[in-house]
Subunit: 134 residues, 2 copies
Amino acid sequence: MTATQELTKNQSLVFDALTRADGPLSAYTILDQLRDNGFRAPLQVYRALDKLLDYGMIHRLESINAFVACAHPHDHSHSHGMTAFAICEKCGQVSEFSDDVITARVREWTNGNGFKPSKTTIEIRGVCASCGTA
Amino acid sequence: MTATQELTKNQSLVFDALTRADGPLSAYTILDQLRDNGFRAPLQVYRALDKLLDYGMIHRLESINAFVACAHPHDHSHSHGMTAFAICEKCGQVSEFSDDVITARVREWTNGNGFKPSKTTIEIRGVCASCGTA
DNA sequence: GTTCGTATGTGATGTTATTACATTAGTCAA
DNA sequence: TTGACTAATGTAATAACATCACATACGAAC
């Protein structure tokens, strides 16, 4: 995988839709946005999303069944760590961060218990600073 | 809420189903198991699940859309901390644990960013020790 | 140009969750 | 006891999320 991944037409369309958006989008929202580009079926979206997830260009937010463009596309600092997400339930904004201490601590548990992790999800739902003071 | 929560008939049936199970169950699996007890519609299950979640007697596993009975029903040690789950993708077994360091670290981030958390999800998917050596 | 792997198109289906509305059962006060 | 209120339940329909199965197109390698 190179710095800038070569994307197919559908993958580009889906990635652009997520990049344009100011927050996470559901697969069906993406589908609706891309109807004018010839998208007809959910699978067109899901297949593109799968690849983009593979490439590490987007994230899936498990707790809200939505997808978001990676906030740090050029930053490989957390490529070996876990990424955590704070999701505002008021405005939908997502903050992405990674924490070495949490990563280490999770790895301690998995090592200690013989568990081979493949994907770790850390999602905090709540109310962001802007919405909390408003 | 007392030590032992008073449950309604449907709540008891759903809770018992989850307690009997040796792993997480989807809402529709629970529904199927309770057909003989008069369950007909998803809502009967979802309503009971909502209450049981409220009472802290069960957990929802966001990454696999399933529910599991709390592994430490009489242990209030992690009632103020976050609960993490290791989910084996081979056998479905779920290990539940809580970690004060992770809890503290997450709280540091939320405090530092003015984020008011309501629910935090930590789920590790992978292969458990038993399945890894098999 | 044939073969092969990858990407795409399309319809149908499977799975998870909620909305809307009707009914039942228990509690409490007048 | 009645009425009013609240919680729980029953049921049908629908919404939201995801995959399967199969057909077609496209590009690279030989």
